[in-house]
Symmetry: D3
Subunit: 253 residues, 6 copies
């Protein structure tokens, strides 16, 4: 049986990464994965949260939101509700943690990079598209600091991208689920991985279902295929800047 | 003395209205006024707020928000603060009131049209661009109901657009202020007007300043010039649909 | 057709301004406009909000509230709801902005004047009565600073008052709408004006209606009649203090 | 040693109870105790809270608030803080409980009486003045229902009033503490009592102090003196209506 | 008529006070009164709230909460509701006030002792059990400071315990009400008393009922019986530490 | 190098599961894992959340909290803050999702089982201890429904338990991290697994670190060792009831 949009099981949707999308942010990207569109903006702030003050070390934090009509039916705004949902908090924490894993925080000093991921259109995979796009926005912003001689070394150690994999009944293991697939999947896994193949985050969930170790290994294999293509798209978007990442350190481990 | 971006005193910035910008909403528009960009999405809901139930009449309500980096420095999200600011509330109420003034609410029955205006880039005039764009998104959404034979008459009575005018020291009265102008203006006025030249809303404010009746009349004259051009841009964006507005009723009053 | 309370179209309701109404505030007034009653209290605080610190300049801010039974049916307290409504925020911002326009903020130094307007009985026009009463409370409070030699000049440049005008179907343009008129008016306009006839704030709204330029001019004319009478009532309430306002500067522009 | 305002130890401050203070509420009173002034308004609502539905029984609930400048220095509004303080909650609960104890809730059917106590000027004893005034406002509101033949019996069983007593170092036991006394008292006790001398509420507190049984008995004796005078003031304010209370039942127990 | 659990009218339920219940707090106790179980933990913080800074004096504050299933049917968490109820606030304020009355706050310097009372099982009397247990936890924590030579004198002046008494129809005055008794009692009174028999807090309430002076005296007599037994249990729990309390000062007054 | 508490790398801490810990809940357990202690209570409610109404299917949801002094230094209550943190939300969602995966929700009809996990003492692994204990509390509660003939089949399909594994620098892969280990681990992974060895949830995170596929496989192997021992402890705690789980269905897949 084939997928609802005709893709092969291990095939990503079309990816576009548009650099310098907005004029004000230090780094700004519009990432499109299939019909999912996310604006990722990076902001540099000259201080760190209280728990880090005086340690000479930087911080990266993320916020995530969706326009009310990013979704098929309208979602109430979190600002109107007066609180951020648990789902949003989980995603924000995930994006921030993932980005921090590939940045040399010591080298950027007492600065915070805020990465805002605003989903303007959603069709599945918004959190993984956010990470993939946020990495590019972050790289652009940090490069501005580097070009301005405010950083001694280029602080990004490796490429980082994210995708989803899952198990769909009667279809099997698939890569990069769209919304329709995601809402019927027995198992859903988000994978955040670096260019050297290291895992940063692995979140596999069986909602009213479970998965075996054999399935897990297939899921990881599909994830790796997707991650490598996403990193290639990031490189193309970054152009000349692409070569700076991991330059001194080398990609391989 | 001339304006900081070289425009004539009574000159609008460039206007673009991109129809069907997102796939999910019943009406979706990206409006660009100079460097200000607002996504306006209209959603149809099959019920009205409690205070209107049982009256057989529809309602139109608006929500307004800005991406954190729509602005030059990052603005904290209202969702993170846990509340909507006074400025946002004022703008939401203004947009809703303005749109309701040109729609025959009885003819749409017990439905609510939600209009979401999300500013992705701000350079002054976000509330007036929101109204101008929201009118187009609303028209598209109501037309869907009309084409689906869910409405007996086309419910929009007239075109509606909004712009700002102001008084700037050493420059005088100007049309369509950008952010730099807005932040130095002695007097700031938002005008919402219909195609027949009727006022819907007039909000003039002297922040630590005042204005005379003579200045008021000049402001209104400049406003009218801008409004008529904005309505022309709305007509072009709407294409064939443009003719339905005020069709039976006639534009003139 | 005549008005529901027998007044002429351009006739204000009875005005009373009772000075030194409460014992604790630096300035305290009970203003009565027809059946609308508002307690206006001014408080002097020896610091300014964060955005003004270090600029050697003062600030004036307002808060507005209604007793639950100021209105015909009971209104839930905003404290119980846990948030201030959009209407209240709009009014608070309006009162503060209006008062700031006639005060020389540089001359009062780094002080904030809080003006609390608490409506104890409402019958239309509560926001304009608040501004008119708040001006008197503010004058008394600033005069205390001046008498105590804490200010080099008397900081109030001109008188300031506010009233409402509107268009009522089958009645036409009217001045100082009571609640019944307000709730049926097609057009509603709040005017804040100084003793020299300058506008500070003009907010005209057609709720599901519009208004022409000809109507606008009539509305402004009626507004001016009301404003001048309100300023006369302020002068009488202030007694000797009345002469200090605009003394050095002269009223006329 | 005598009291700071020259009163005898067992002397109340001046009491005034002004009936029909505001026009909208079903019962409205301005009570003045010395310099403390509280507006008490009663509202009748034709339903009960969820926990009482279907039991054919009524409910009485109270809300309490102070104007920001009721106090010597300005107190932040609870609406601005977004929450009601613990002190306010305690007082609201006390007022409601006290009033319920003298009303035959079964006889009023599924109605809620809201009693709003808004302190416009505070000089100690605001909670006890609120109870004493609220009793009168409640009586007027319930009498309207009774006069309209909506109640079969007059539902108030007895008079109810409240006062404070305390122990002040170097002065001893005193009745009806003003703010200055209250802030230096070692022991503070609020007493709510009926015309037949029964206790409804007794709240004695030693803040960083304690009190003996002997002191307790003196405190109660002073309280009774005050309560009887307050009930006399209530009778006078109620005029003809005064005789209806406890009519059928008799005051004595 | 006898009580629903077979106790005599003036009989306490079984008391257990388990010292050092948890490992992290500076003082930790599990108190069991009948089927009511409360964990009381004391935390020492090296600063005082803003209103006390610079006075060289300490502070004691309490927080109170119940597990959702401490009660027979599940109670919604206050964290999920986003606010603390009035009942909780009243109890927290009572516990803090009571504890402060027997501690020499000057002698502990600028420190705050937080006492957390978490009810894990509720069967009436949770606030009085909290006070009785909190006293022991507080004593243990303050003794740590004393043993570490951080305090010059042992700062606790007297023993302090709390219990409830009440009037139940057809039963009369009773001591230490369980939940079933509490929910049917006509009069409910909480008594906080010291080892020398002084009152710290007396809160008697007739919910839809009243009580006479004669009943009051009986209630106080029963209270005293309970308090002395509770203090005995505290002494036993404290072991050697028991002798330090009121050492220099002597128990009797 | 050995672990800080002397355990072998693949050794669990001591486990105790005390059944029927509290008297009110339908299922109640105190689980102790080393020094971590969690009270898990299950409540049965006869309705489902709105999104499930009318589908004839049940729901399981969880809430998680910590006492302020469960931790080494005091943590502010979420109720006092007025909101639930992102960490808490993540954990609550995880516990609910995990439990739902092994229950036949169709067979329990339109009921919600609330599982409250309250950590009274924390030393690492509170979320996994919560899941392991919650499973037992849930089983007891569902068994009550089953014994009362309210369920046709015993609805639990398999045993479910959770543990953590991680990578610690200079130590390597370890099982069941205590707090000290957790706060220094380079990689942290939570594993929720069933008695048949299927995964329900896998959450591996490198905080400022990454992990290879080889490390992942070792982590999973250690996890499985722990899970099987935890399930054995659950069986022992459940006693006779243990045999009902997966009875008809068989454990193996």
């Amino acid at each position: 049986m084939i997928r609802n949009d005709g893709r092969a099981a291990n095939e990503l949707r079309d990816i576009q990464i548009e650099k310098d999308y907005l004029i004000h942010p230090e780094g700004s990207v519009l990432i499109t994965v299939g019909r999912t569109k996310v604006i990722c903006n990076a902001t540099i702030e000259d201080r760190v949260p209280p728990f880090l003050r005086g340690q000479g070390k930087g911080w990266i934090t993320a916020e995530y939101s969706m326009l009310p009509r990013a979704t098929e039916s309208r979602t109430q705004r979190e600002a109107s509700k007066g609180k951020v949902t648990g789902r949003t908090m989980e995603i924000q924490r995930l994006i921030g943690r993932a980005l921090r894993s590939v940045v040399d925080l010591e080298s950027i000093g007492e600065k915070t990079i805020w990465v805002d991921c605003d989903v303007i259109q959603a069709d599945g995979g918004t959190r993984t598209a956010s990470i993939t796009g946020a990495f590019v926005a972050l790289t652009i912003a940090l490069n501005k600091l580097y070009e301005d001689k405010k950083l001694a070394v280029f602080p990004i150690k490796e490429y980082l991208a994210a995708t989803s994999v899952g198990v769909i009944e009667n279809v099997g293991v698939v890569l990069d689920l769209n919304y329709l697939e995601d809402s019927t999947a027995a198992v859903d896994m988000n994978i955040v991985q670096t260019s050297s193949g290291e895992f940063v985050e692995l979140q596999g969930t069986g909602e009213e279902a479970t998965f075996s170790k054999k399935e897990l290994l297939e899921l990881l294999e599909f994830g790796e295929i997707g991650i490598q293509q996403l990193i290639q798209a990031q490189r193309e978007a970054l152009g000349e800047l692409a070569e700076k990442i991991g330059g001194k350190r080398g990609d391989a481990k």
